[in-house]
């Protein structure tokens, strides 16, 4: 309730009805950027696309875009959230999504990055990290979509 009272985003979203779908579009482009660049590294860790030996270069080269996308997603996401905080907060799919997102971001900037940059990690561990990362990010997308289909 406090969020609604001190929420400048909400007034704008109510006043301009097209803003919600427009924000959703920004949200989708944002996650294509973030998840797309991370998935490239995941594919590399799994031995596809840009292979294992290239993942360090891949991470460094795509990091600014991963972060730009993340900023877009979080900003647009908060704007969408602000329209009905109580509904989102108590929505099961939203809770799962946010949990997966937090873990995915944490993983991305810690173990995922470290494994991608290192040259002599065992193949099996790199495979595992790539698979977990990919699964987490896809769970975030599924969770996000299911917000609209669950209560």
């Amino acid at each position: 309730m406090l969020l609604i009272q001190v929420n400048p985003g909400l007034d704008i979203m109510i006043k301009y009805q097209w803003l919600f779908p427009a924000t959703e579009c920004v949200h989708i482009i944002g996650f294509a950027l973030t998840i797309g660049t991370i998935a490239l590294v995941d594919f590399g860790l799994l031995g596809f696309g840009f292979r294992r030996e290239a993942t360090g270069q891949l991470v460094r080269s795509t990091a600014p875009w991963t972060l730009s996308g993340l900023i877009l997603i979080i900003f647009s996401g908060l704007l969408l959230f602000s329209t009905d905080p109580d509904h989102y907060y108590s929505n099961r799919a939203f809770q799962i999504k946010v949990t997966c997102l937090a873990v995915a971001i944490l993983l991305n900037y810690t173990i995922h990055r470290k494994v991608a940059l290192s040259k002599n990690d065992s193949g099996a561990f790199a495979h595992l990290v790539g698979a977990i990362s990919l699964a987490l990010w896809i769970s975030v997308v599924f969770g996000g979509l299911f917000i609209g289909f669950t209560t």
Partner: protein, 163 residues
Amino acid sequence: MSFYSFAHWLERREWALDFSASSYAYPIVLATHLSCIAVFGGMVLVTNFRLLGWALTCYPISDVMRKLRFWKRLGFLLMVTSGLLMAGSEAGKYYGNPFFWTKVALLALIGVHALVFRRSVYRKTTELDLAPVVPGHAKLAAAASLILWTGVVCAGRLIGYYI
């Protein structure tokens, strides 16, 4: 048979009725469609960014294109399959939806884009690598591709608002 009656015939097929009757089928297929935007749409973005010199500049253009070609094709196949499932199961509704037709028109333009730039850009990647700077027409191809695909994503999202 007109396209209109085809749409109504299509949505009365048994698979379409089953699809619509299930409360899980639509969201699961849509979530798959969206996951493909994330994973494979991201590859389209990155490829175009490479042509524009914004990302992956440590790799030759031909390298980026060759390594991602198979995956982008696989992604396209998954997107079209999931998209046709959704549109086909509710063909009557989609038929009257202007955003659906906007999306179809933009996809057709992407086909035209591929034909226009195939010879000068997409089959000339080794020449592009040898050029001291990426030539203007290759950057134009990348910019046009970014605009068209962004349009497809936005039109796709708006389909859901017109029912």
